[in-house]
Symmetry: C2
């Protein structure tokens, strides 16, 4: 008895409809990336293990999928480690390759390896799957696509302006209106840390502050104190507890708050530049929001930090994010390369579009017409038309077997094919084809040219 | 000192130009697949190890990349195997997933898992990477794409007709004219084996016969005898040594030769059907050839066998192949599912197109126009036009930093950007833009609408 087949947990099969919809999202993003002057690259699915290890923290190292060496992989393994069953220590002896964990580290490795062929500033985009040995849960998979655009080799703030515009245009193209582009700056966070005199508590501080809507001012303050932030420090940043207003008003509050921090002031001016230019240019459908609690990837971002909130009508959290990092390629020996990049969360964007019913009806893979099979002689006659329709760009299928007509119609129906063509001896004699519209049942007798015209 | 980064052997980075060209090939194939009524599916990059093992022979099992289990993978490993350093036996204890080795086995697994959602006959296509731990060499990689189209659930020979047409149309669309679609049938090979009375020698026989051009009739016969095929048997199939003529003439020769083999005769009639229908319909640019030496994947093909020879002007061998298999899904518990499918060799098609210079010039990712950066004020003015051009569909870049104008022109030049826009105080005052065509050096002063019109 054959075993019932399955797939590894956290992975997915995609049906035709799902592939068509995912392709639609990716093509829309791809086209916008290219209009903004980003160029595609692709890197291998697996990298040398030492390229990836140590770049994502200890937790990240654990979540990297390692590939077992080929052949007699134990022959050079240390016998002591085998006897001790030291899984962790043995890994590097029996595995020298690992699946890509994100697109950023491979990009850095690519830039360093190809630095002599690249004209900087280098604007690249990349859309490829990544793999993480995370515990699978709703909306979190072990294999998923990342769609990243990064510029490397320029510190210009115009890049930040460009990336805000890019987010706005991509979501507009996808008909996802009303996303929030949340903007912050690492230097503002550093400024806040300076002002409260507690750099090491910064993450605790922002995590607590982010809960303002849920647990209220007193709740947040209680949590901060519990985390070891002094009441005095909290008092200094009191304006952050009533941090309302538009972009400009928020900037003004920050200017006052961070007046004693040089770095904080630089952060405010950077945000001010982006805010001013975006306000001049206008956004099509997104809104820009200054969010001082935004701290994603605090460890490697050094300037702007972006995060995209889905439209208010959908409860799904962030559907994109990014930021500026000043030393992406240093790990691989190329210093002083500032970069800034953003990412689109394909799976979550898919869920948003599904929930809001935003996929255009023409995004599907159904054929336009099915030629019924009434026998070899009829099919032999019909094939001329099949070929002609396809060459005219019409998705055309034949039913391969001579089955009952009812079964063939049912097949068209199930697959969402709107038209069927029938051929009998009379059609062959007259050089015609009978076209049936399946929903209305309407039948017309046409020659090949008329058929092409009708279906095109 | 950072270590100089590299990538695993047998893998590749793809530059923007390469990605664009590969996408062009894949999109062309994809569009034709869809016009022929094939629908896309995608399967996970890794499968459960037991889904893949035993499907590709002993050599195949060795070449499958296994993924090391996460966490403390040695904890449940057999201590005896560890002490003995039995790599092969240990594998299944420390690895339960493996990278996809081809698209056919995952497809079979998909069909069985989703049989209740699928309307048969099911026409699917799939374009995804596969991985093999093969020794890398010129043109052979450890990660490469396969592009497959298969129909499952029908024995109709119209499918074979369709697949010949599909090959012809895809290569015509790619401007690769003059490919040879080689056709054979497993039943003819079985018939020949019956006639020579040596089924077990069939592969030796076809391999030797295939060398006719190179080593001549006597050489081939010598090799056959060396392999244990009797002189008497060779005498019986003498016509195969002068197997010339067109499709019909070759069929006639086979009809006579295989007159004593029921299976052989069925093979001839199957080929005759496909040949007759293709000859009625005509091919656009390919030629159909009956090749009795064609025996690829002999083990699982049961009917038609296809192989595509590149145009004569290129020395590259096969650029595609496929065939009919009568029991693809039996391994996973679904019996009597006949399928037939073909595959396109992306990497080799790429090499053919490169060698024959067939990539359209518009297949590249270069932007159309670069806005030079003359300072923040000028850029702030220029951005309105940048946004307008992009929204009109024109690939538009800005130079992010205020650098020397010469350096900015050089950047455009290196990247193959044909136009530059300059903005100074005069342009701002007049609401204009100076457009420079980089090759001719010609400059014109235009307003935004004129600029869009000119660059569109």
């Amino acid at each position: 008895m054959a075993k019932k087949p399955g797939i590894p947990k956290g992975t997915r099969d995609f049906s035709s409809m799902e592939v068509a919809r995912r392709q639609y999202i990716m093509q829309t993003i791809r086209h916008r990336f290219e209009k903004f002057g980003f160029h595609p690259i692709e890197t291998p699915s697996f990298e040398n293990l030492d390229t990836l290890l140590g770049k994502y923290g200890e937790e990240g190292d654990r979540l990297i999928f390692k590939i077992l060496n080929s052949g007699d992989y134990l022959s050079k393994a240390d016998e002591k480690l085998l006897n001790e069953k030291s899984s962790q220590k043995l890994t590097s002896q029996i595995s020298e390759k690992a699946l890509r964990y994100d697109l950023t580290v491979p990009f850095a490795r690519y830039v360093v390896m190809h630095q002599n062929e690249i004209d900087f500033p280098f604007k690249r985009y990349q859309m490829q799957p990544v793999w993480r040995a995370d515990r699978p849960q709703k909306g979190r998979f072990r294999e998923f696509y990342q769609c990243d655009a990064d510029v490397i080799g320029s510190k210009s703030l115009w890049q930040e302006v460009e990336l805000v515009l890019l987010y706005d245009r991509v979501f507009t193209d996808l008909n996802i209106f009303g996303v929030t582009i949340k903007l912050n700056n690492r230097k503002i966070l550093a400024g806040i840390a300076e002002v409260i005199g507690a750099s090491d508590k910064l993450i605790d501080f922002t995590v607590a502050l982010d809960k303002l809507d849920k647990i209220g001012e007193e709740g947040v303050k209680a949590e901060m104190i519990e985390k070891g932030i002094t009441a005095e420090a909290i008092e200094t940043v009191q304006p952050l507890f009533h941090f309302t207003g538009n972009f400009e008003e928020k900037l003004d509050k920050l200017r006052k708050l961070l007046i004693t921090s040089e770095e904080g002031k630089r952060g405010v001016e950077e945000l001010a530049f982006v805010g001013k230019e975006i306000s001049r240019l206008g956004l099509k459908s997104a809104k820009l929001n200054l969010d001082v609690t935004l701290a994603r990837g605090l460890n490697y971002y050094t300037g702007a930090i972006f995060e995209i909130g889905a439209p208010d009508t959908v409860q799904i959290g962030s559907i994109g994010g990014g930021g500026r990092y000043d030393d992406l390629t240093g790990n691989f020996g190329l210093k002083d390369m500032s970069g800034v990049g953003i990412s689109f969360g394909l799976d979550r964007i898919y869920l948003v579009m599904e929930e809001l019913n935003l996929f255009p009806t023409e995004v599907n893979t159904a054929s336009k017409v099915l030629f019924l099979n009434m026998g070899d002689q009829e099919m032999s006659y019909a094939m001329q038309a099949v070929v002609g329709l396809r060459d005219a760009g019409i998705k055309t299928e034949i039913y391969p077997d001579k089955a009952k007509v009812g079964k063939q119609f049912q097949f068209a129906d199930k697959k969402g094919i709107p038209f069927a063509v029938l051929v009998g001896s009379q059609e062959i004699e007259e050089g015609k084809f009978t076209l049936k519209e399946l929903v209305s049942g309407e039948q017309t007798v046409l020659d090949l040219q008329e058929l092409i015209k009708k279906l095109k």
